[in-house]
Symmetry: C2
């Protein structure tokens, strides 16, 4: 399981210490952290905790939310997020770029994202951090992420230093152009995340994620394609799901490891 | 309001007779019908009712659901739907092509759709009916429609006789390639449908539609683009929304007409 990473959001109620302990207990060598629980535990303390446990930090979630017409405060916050990623010794800051801002101007919002990422990329490069742009499933276009396809994210990653992309199965699986865009993404993939798409979509669409294997995504095919690009980084399991959040951490982390070994690892 | 069409699903609880009466009362000259209420009223009786009221039938909803590995029964049902469209004197059968079939084989499902549409297109041409392929928002890829973009639908419409596309604002608004695909769609647009995307998405994602103007879609921009292609057909207002379904038909139809006059008609 050398490349499995537990994204902390999968055990949302766990503290940083509990998540780290769970990884160690289950032989998981890498963790994806979130800013809020890291702040709760303390940035330097978290860096030490993770290092002492022998874990890698596969990514920090998350920067972004850059679509406001006045995004100066957001840019400052993103610089802090870059510093935090560097302090945690991860080279990957996941970026959820923000949605339409109530003015119906999707085209304008996308331009503001491109400008903001360009502005942040120099700072990120100096810090040794890649801004990992996460294309979001179009169901989140209005409120979370106006980058809707891998193609859009790659248009930025190809022309800016220290900018990469996240391939999150849930966000990209439906894309008719996925095969070609995964090939194109190869050198720019900063993070590969897996979970599954559940049908019917639950009452809160944000929580429509299941364990790998429980939904409609062909994760074997996708993982094989990502591996074929030469991507050699961690594979994060990131699941937002009310029932999984309500379950015991140990049970959840064990199931994550089991699904990874069963579905993902054989085709890496 | 010469080009406004009331899609019957907007007043889901209304019978065909009630929907037709509402159109006449509000000066709406066209209606989009659904197969089930038409069957309830009787096919020939509906054709006569609509003709006597002086209404056009802008479309019949819906054929499709062709992704099963054995789709012979579905093909038969689609031939009946084509016959029904012809009997109702509409040239447009809206096609919702079907989702992934539980086997995670999205690529295979898309191939089956292409084959099935090719098989049906000759029959449709003979009946004088256009199969109007409706790209569905990717949130419906698993359970309703594996055609996720206008580009995919156009790949079929461009090479098959009697095959066109539906531009439904709700399904296409997020697409980063929308501007170019609308231009490409020009001669193939068989139906233009409007409603709005509501945020947050309600508990049933199918019902996340609002009156034009109430959500995040720039319908003025989109309508202008559709009009610029030379599209001269009807504009259907199709809204799935629990609160709108619970309201009185007269109130709803009046509001549909008001929004159309306010937002759509000025830019047609």
């Amino acid at each position: 399981m050398a490349r499995l990473s537990l994204n902390q959001a999968t055990v949302k109620r766990a503290t940083v210490a509990e998540a780290v302990e769970g990884c160690v207990r289950h032989g998981i060598e890498s963790i994806g952290l979130w800013r809020e629980p890291v702040a709760d535990h303390g940035l330097e303390r978290t860096a030490k905790l993770v290092a002492d446990a022998g874990l890698r930090v596969s990514s920090l979630c998350r920067g972004g939310f850059l679509t406001a017409t006045d995004n100066r405060a957001a840019l400052d916050d993103n610089r802090r997020a870059i510093d935090e990623a560097a302090a945690l010794r991860t080279g990957t800051l996941v970026m959820v770029v923000g949605g339409v801002q109530g003015d119906k101007d999707l085209v304008g919002a996308r331009h503001r994202v491109a400008d903001a990422i360009a502005e942040l990329s120099g700072y990120a490069a100096q810090a040794g951090v890649v801004l990992a742009l996460e294309p979001m499933h179009p169901v989140f276009c209005a409120d979370r992420g106006v980058l809707s396809t891998l193609s859009q994210a790659l248009d930025l990653a190809e022309r800016l230093p220290s900018v990469g992309v996240v391939v999150d199965a849930l966000h990209v699986w439906w894309d008719p152009d996925l095969d070609a865009q995964i090939v194109r993404a190869g050198p720019h993939i900063a993070s590969y995340q897996v979970c599954d798409w559940l049908t019917p979509v639950p009452a809160d669409v944000l929580l429509g994620r299941g364990y790998p294997g429980d939904g409609d995504i062909d994760l074997v095919r996708l993982t094989r394609q990502v591996a074929a690009t030469g991507y050699a980084g961690d594979v994060e399991v990131e699941i937002f799901n009310a029932a999984i959040w309500a379950a015991g951490f140990d049970e959840v982390i064990g199931e994550v490891a089991r699904r990874y070994r069963e579905i993902v690892e054989p085709v890496l």
